[in-house]
């Protein structure tokens, strides 16, 4: 089809008002195996993060065995039933080089940007945004960020060095943002295409007309290069078309009923945090199932966690400093109590995605989730011996069920591996001593 006539068709359609059918492009029927769309396009892979504060107690957290059949020490016991869905990476370092140690900040900042910051601003956007720019720009929400800490500032996703994505923490407000009147329910009969996507497509189609003139200027070999470029533009056009096309129904998309008018009470008592975490997690999982976004961020608590244990006088962070190490146990028992609640939270987060069917597997199978924290041992403000979890198989690209000793290498390897797994074509990640081009190949298929 030549450019001009395509364009006229499109302009006509757009000017005609409500669009009921876009150009027939992708066939949204799954193939026989349920692992890809009928035209061979694989199911989309989504990315998520999850974070908790204040590290862990090595004596109760780090398994002695590495590889496949590792044990689950008491602090991570809650994750034992999910053994085949997760990986645990331990003994990771966040190198801060000459930058000062900003407690409860430097560690996660290195994890998420690969760069030790020198101030309370980051050096760049966090890597979930790099991934979102790659895989989720066409979605209704490029990313969704939430927490169970009842504080919008608890966010580890930054759009640029100075701009955190504020976190959703109210289940009622989050519900209305996701599933309120604006929700383009893929299972609904009506569809209204985005005017911005229409304009983008229309301008692109005008620009594509310039190809003819350029083509005339070049020789045969260079024409092949231009063809490749033109194919790329067509691909981009397809992406815009997807946004203009009524989405196919998604069986797994079943938004819950609206929560009651009165919102959850604020506060950081552990039972409240647990309840809030569950509600926010369920909403996030359904947002992903309904393909409203392909990148999500969830935080269980602030890095300087102020979760409260009923009947105990000190909140989580204060406990890490003040509680003596129980010499028999070899760790701070109350501090460990808080970490165990976090791990139960992570287990429920992973389970929420594993509960949603997709194709012949679950939503989790087509996700990569990375869970990280601010310190190795919070009491010592250490930036070594840090743990990270991954969950999900990223559409078959990631192996699970492993405990890997990272041997003190940089935490930027996690970000780099995530970026590459999610198709972001970077040659390296991180800065100074955190610079890496080293994939965690043990977990890659």
């Amino acid at each position: 089809m030549n450019g001009l006539s395509r364009r006229r068709v499109l302009r006509g359609v757009l000017n005609g008002g409500a669009v009921t059918v876009g150009l027939p492009l992708l066939n949204y029927y799954l193939n026989g195996n349920g692992t890809a769309f009928a035209d061979g396009t694989p199911l989309p892979v989504r990315f998520g993060t999850w974070s908790w504060g204040l590290g862990m107690s090595p004596a109760a957290f780090v398994p002695k065995k590495t590889g496949k059949d590792f044990e689950f020490p008491e602090e991570i016991e809650a994750l034992a039933p999910l053994r085949d869905k997760i990986n645990l990476l331990t003994n990771i370092t966040a190198f801060r080089d000459n930058s000062q140690l900003m407690c409860h900040f430097t560690g996660w900042a290195i994890s998420r940007t690969g760069n030790a910051p020198n101030s309370r601003n980051l050096s760049s956007e966090t890597y979930d945004i790099k991934i979102a720019n790659q895989i989720s720009r066409s979605r209704r929400f490029k990313t969704l960020t939430a927490n169970a800490a009842a504080d919008a500032r608890v966010s580890f996703s930054y759009e640029d060095p100075n701009t955190p994505n504020p976190a959703e923490y109210s289940p009622v407000l989050f519900y209305s943002r996701l599933f309120g009147p604006e929700f383009p329910n893929p299972n609904a009969k009506e569809f209204k295409p985005s005017p911005r996507a229409m304009s983008r497509k229309s301008v692109l189609s005008a620009v594509m007309q310039e190809m003819d003139a350029v083509n005339k200027r070049v020789g045969a070999e260079d024409r092949a290069r231009l063809d490749q470029y033109f194919t790329g533009l067509r691909h981009l056009e397809h992406q815009f078309d997807q946004q203009l096309t009524k989405p196919e129904p998604i069986a797994a998309c079943n938004p819950p009923a609206a929560p009651k008018d009165s919102d959850m009470k604020l506060g950081n008592e552990s039972p409240l945090v647990i309840q809030r975490h569950k509600m926010m997690t369920d909403l996030l999982a359904m947002a992903v199932a309904c393909d409203q976004t392909r990148v999500i961020n969830m935080a269980y608590c602030a890095m300087l966690s102020n979760t409260i244990k009923p009947g105990y006088e000190k909140p989580h962070h204060t406990t890490t400093h003040e509680e003596p190490i129980d010499e028999k146990l070899g760790y701070q028992p109350n501090c460990s109590w808080f970490t165990r609640r976090c791990m139960e939270g992570f287990a429920s987060y992973v389970q929420a995605f594993a509960n949603i069917k997709e194709g012949d597997g679950t939503l989790l199978d087509n996700m990569l989730i990375v869970a990280d924290t601010d310190h190795g041992v919070a009491r010592l403000h250490s930036l070594d011996g840090m743990p990270v979890f991954t969950a999900g198989r990223a559409g078959g690209k990631v192996k699970t069920g492993l405990h890997i000793d990272m041997k003190g290498t940089t935490i930027a390897r996690v970000g780099y591996t995530a970026l590459r797994t999610m198709g972001v074509d970077v040659q390296k990640f991180g800065d100074r001593s955190n610079t890496t081009s080293d994939l965690i190949s043990d977990i890659l298929v």
Binding site: R11, L14, F95, D97, N98, S124, N133, Q134, R137, D160, P195, R196, M198, S199, R200, S202, V203, L204, A206, V207, Q209, E210, M211, A213, V214, R217, V218, G219, D222, A224, R225, L226, Q228, Y229, T231, G232, L233, H235, L236, G423, D425, V426, Q427, K428, D431, R432, S433, T435, S437
Partner: protein, 578 residues
């Protein structure tokens, strides 16, 4: 002997392959010799219709060219943090890869992303006041007159060729339609700018030829293509309005006015951007981005040392060649440079914060840029120095000579698990070089590389390796020396040094490998470079005014045969671990 043989041959053959194994066997040298073809080509010279040009190219803007172009037009506060796909280095020049690179789907998405980021900033409430040259009648609706004003300015700058008038009006219509659809004039401009930034006329430069009236039968680049070549070469960005206007007036076709335009470009502060980009390319500094040193071996090689080392050498180049207008060859003997705190740690120099001018004393053994960390550390292993890598880099990057790749099945055990009696690199390499298969290449690289053994893998000075004093003597093409100062002098005096710069600069300027047809141009440029006392500014001017720069050669009926090295013809079996 073959040292002399090598030397004289090398003089005659600018791109000769150092076919070492063949030379050792006393056999004939190269399998491909462009100078022979060049002679043939120049035989036709004098008729004023000789083919002295390069092919017209389809060039893809590099990341830095894209950023420079955008920021020159919209202002440096438009933030662009992007890295396009890496280019393929071809005959020593990364820029040549821009005439070969394709664009993948993923790359298109990157372009779209950065287009969105740029256009959003340009039209945000802060920037629109200055960057949109008019105020719309209503901010909620289309205003085609105002949109046309904005778009005509940016399209005449961003497009490598002016678009046809009807196409321009289509874009204005698009902006209007989008403004009405989105109920926002600026949103309409933003979406349009986003699309325009994906245009083939923005991302590519498709050079165009036209008959050359002064040289009947020959073709030249048209005025806009020449303007692009000039600007991408000297400023590493698209041409500005003045240069386009000059191209429009035909100034580039008149010898006198062309020289005036080039002089103005050379006088512009933007020349520094261009010169930095060129030397960054020639010195292979793209590899600095992935340079890492083992922290246990070289704890003093701090995280920012690599970036500082690159900056040090580029500052040295700009200072010596542009500001002080010195002889290019003096770069390899001069002790004048610049110092930063993290480099001070490596060089053992007291220095305050920031960059400051610094001159090494003679006893520091830091004579010339080969003794700078950028060269020493980049061409070493993470845990040890490498005479071979340094020698190879010197041959290939600085002297434009080819070192054949190592043959298959080499026993590297002497290097990797050294015998305790082999305490120095020299001892290990000489053991290695007793293997005749290895000897050929190592005789090319090691005698020069070993002169740099006084510097460890991070570039710090040392006099001993494992308590055994280092012997830094060596030779370059038959000239013996006893230390690194002698090496610098030998490189300085090597005729290959200036001719390599000429070759690289010409290849970079024309964004491709140097075709046989351009060899006479190079010969002329070499001559004028010598005549001008090896001054870079003079060379840049000579290149941009040369016929080879603007003359268009017709593509050969078939691609040139790949260059061969003698080592590929060696029987594989010899290369076993004997």
């Amino acid at each position: 002997m073959f040292r002399e043989l090598l030397f004289t041959r090398f003089m005659k053959r600018p791109a000769v392959v150092l076919a070492a194994a063949t030379m050792l066997a006393g056999g004939a040298v190269a399998t491909f010799d462009p100078s022979l073809a060049a002679e043939k080509a120049s035989a036709a010279k004098g008729s004023n219709s000789a083919d002295v040009g390069t092919p017209k190219r389809l060039r893809l803007l590099t990341t830095q060219q894209y950023i420079n172009t955008i920021q020159y037009f919209f202002g440096p506060d438009i933030k662009i943090d992007v890295k396009f796909a890496p280019l393929t280095r071809t005959d020593g020049v990364l820029m040549a890869g821009t005439s070969l690179a394709g664009v993948s789907d993923a790359q298109i998405e990157t372009y779209q992303k950065v287009a969105n980021i740029v256009s959003t900033q340009v039209l945000d409430s802060r920037h629109r006041k200055t960057l949109v040259p008019c105020v719309p009648k209503s901010e909620q609706a289309a205003d085609n007159a105002c949109a046309a004003k904005f778009l005509s300015g940016l399209i005449s700058y961003l497009y490598s060729v002016p678009p046809p008038k009807d196409h321009f009006s289509i874009l204005v219509d698009e902006a209007g339609a989008a403004a009405n659809r989105l109920n926002d004039f600026y949103a309409g401009l933003q979406v349009t700018l986003e699309g325009v930034l994906l245009s083939p006329n923005v991302l590519f430069v498709a050079e165009k030829e036209e008959p050359d009236p002064k040289r009947p039968g020959r073709s030249r680049l048209d005025a806009f293509s020449q303007a692009s070549r000039l600007s991408l070469f000297l400023w590493n960005a698209a041409p500005d309005a003045e240069l386009r206007a000059a191209a429009n007036r035909g100034d580039l076709f008149n010898e006198k006015s062309r020289a005036r335009v080039v002089d103005a470009m050379l006088a512009s502060p933007r020349l520094e951007t261009g010169v930095r980009a060129f030397f960054d390319d020639m010195f292979g500094f793209d590899d600095v981005e992935t340079l890492s040193k083992d922290a246990a071996t070289y704890p003093f090689f701090l995280g920012d040392a690599g970036a500082d080392a690159r900056e040090q050498t580029l500052r040295t180049v700009v200072d010596q060649l542009l500001i002080k207008n010195k002889d290019y060859r003096d770069l390899y003997t001069s002790r004048e440079t610049f110092m930063s705190p993290s480099l001070g740690l490596i060089y053992g120099v007291r220095t305050g914060p920031g960059w400051r001018a610094y001159e090494f004393p003679p006893e520091a053994h830091r004579d010339g840029i080969l003794t700078q960390v950028s060269f020493l550390a980049l061409h070493s292993h993470p845990t040890r120095s490498s005479a071979t890598l340094r020698g190879k880099a010197l041959r290939e990057l600085i002297l434009c000579q080819k070192v054949p790749p190592p043959p298959a099945n080499v026993d590297f055990s002497a290097l990797n698990n050294p015998d305790a009696t082999l305490r120095t690199a020299r001892a290990r390499l000489s053991a290695h070089a007793q293997n005749p298969v290895c000897a050929g290449c190592h005789k090319i690289t090691d005698p020069m590389g070993l002169a740099l053994e006084n510097f460890d893998g991070a570039g710090r000075y040392r006099t001993a390796e494992k308590d055994t004093p280092i012997d830094a003597s060596g030779s370059l093409d038959g000239k013996p020396f006893t230390d690194v100062v002698g090496l610098g002098q030998a490189v300085h005096d090597s005729p290959a040094l200036p001719s390599c710069l000429v070759r690289r600069a010409f290849s970079y300027a024309t964004a491709g490998t140097v075709p046989v047809t351009a060899e006479p141009t190079l010969a002329q440029l070499n001559k004028s470079f010598v005549g001008e006392g090896y001054r870079l500014r003079a060379l840049l001017k000579a290149i941009t005014l040369s016929e080879g720069f603007s003359d268009v050669t017709q593509p050969a009926s078939k691609p040139a045969a790949p260059e061969k090295t003698a080592s590929v013809s060696l029987p594989g079996k010899i290369a076993s671990k004997e």
